[in-house]
Amino acid sequence: MGRYIVARLIQSIPVLILVSVISFGIMKLVPGDPATLIGGPSATPAELDVIRQNLGLDQPFHVQMWKFYAGLAQGDLGTSLLLGKPVLEATIERIPVSLSIALYSMVLTLLIGLACGVVAALNRNGWADQGAMIFALIGVSLPNFWLGLMLIILFSVHLGWLPTGGYVPWQESFYGWLRTSTMPAVSLALLQIGLLARITRSTMLEVLRQDYIRTARAKGLPEFVVIGKHAFKNVMIPVITVIGIIFSVLLSGSLVIESVFSVPGVGSLLGSAVLRRDYPMIQGGLLLVAWSLLLLNILVDVLYAYFDPRVRYDHGR
């Protein structure tokens, strides 16, 4: 297992480097002079020179790249133009907000998605199956930012149950956190619930056809033991991989949802950076999010290998 983890980490090094090159390169795609875009049409030549000096744009490309990597090695991703703070600090401050909503969404996704998938598989072609699959299909098709707005119309404007936006940390008030996080979490979760329900259903149907399930039933085991112990454990193996993907999608989807609900998380930070052309923030934010997701994927692979030893052996060959 230890060898597998080390191999997986070594494999990811070129990808981590390439991700940093892409993050650096994207901001060099800017047509024309980025200083003009940042300073706006009213900026004087002297002001533009200051912006260029601050961003290091007056230096040759290779020097800019060298400085970028030298800063990276010291944990310095530059300073946000809008906030006047180091990018790393500004991002780390907001991680707990995004993470708490992503985790809430994850819990909703797992509870509802797995339940829908299992119920649909156990009642194959019945009304519960049709209903769960229609729900899943609608979930997959609704744009999450629009769903968020519809939830605001229903639960905030008409019913007045939940606030239209904002965020209360759970350390301050759990009830306040629940009130402010529920609509963003549901908007994020619905698409993932649909995906997970569909995958769980097909995996469950596959597992129910296996010989060991027939054997378990032939032994006279009660149905809930057959499903809960023998089938569900095996359903979870491919589902773990999907959960990794789902978590990364939840984190990235929060970018739009946080703007809709005015949640002060990493997503809204990057969203406002993009709109106001805060290039150091966009560059650093892209890199941090991509690296975090890569590490998350490695963690998922390790978990997968732990639950399914065949993966480790295949890898070793």
Binding site: P14, V15, L18, V19, V21, I22, S23, I26, M27, L29, V30, P31, R124, M133, L137, I138, V140, S141, L142, P143, F145, W146, L149, M150, I152, I153, V157, R198, I199, R201, S202, L205, S248, V249, L251, S252, G253, L255, V256, S259, L270, G271, V274, L275, R277, I282, L286, V289, A290, W291, L293, L294, N297
Partner: protein, 297 residues
Amino acid sequence: MTTAVDAAAVAVRKRTFLQRYPVVRRLIRHKAFVVGAALFAIIVFVAVFADWITTADPNRMAIRFRFRPPGGEFLFGTDNLGRSIYARIVHGARLSLAIGLAVVVMNAVFGVALGAASGYFRRLDNVLMRVTDALMAFPPILLALGIAAALGPSSMTAAIALAAVYIPRTARIVRASVLVVREMEFVQAALAMGASNWRILRKHVLPNCMAPLIVQLTFVFAFAVVTEATLSFLGLGSPPPTPTWGNMIAEGRQYIRDAAWITLIPGLALATTVLSLNLLGDGLRDVLDPRLKISQD
């Protein structure tokens, strides 16, 4: 003898279209596919004949008609500037589908080229796949936003950003198919007969990788339509007053308390388009690539 051969030829000619193309027969028996295809055909019709379906200018402002609810003179109501939401929805369909199609075409060209090169020429595989791994490490919407922010907001930028996001995913799928097909006996036979790599790829390998590619491109279309709307919603797609569904939802957001239809109707149009493409994709996958079947069993 001749008579028997003639009779067989007549029998073959008499076979109906559906008998000759069993894939088509299976597709029209797939309920989800039929519903998706019908819905999508209506949306394509609306997009193509937008100028005939509504003669109203989608950008014509009439302040005295602002905030008219759906019904009566204005089928879908009017927005905060008195523009007809019906006209904007119809013209918005054209732009959404055009961007979706552009992304699909770019994916079909570059995704197939990258995937085929990676799967067939093993020396290129490691380099190309590490690059796709790195691009896929970015969450799709974040990478699209980064590219759109760098290039500036426009329909063209949105299409390029979305293509860049999905090409690595398409390349991965094509590569996986090429890896399987290149080991098959008919490919080895062609190689032994002296066929060039280009000919083998074009005539033998790629035609056998079409099924998963078609399925993938259908889903790329759906993703592109949603992500383009998301970019427009965030102010990084086609700039206002271009009638895109994402722009309409963003503009209606301020009036959500008193004029919810401004946000509701473009969202429904968007959701219907994505639903139709998902149904189409599910049907195509079940029929063309049954190994990945998840919608019906």
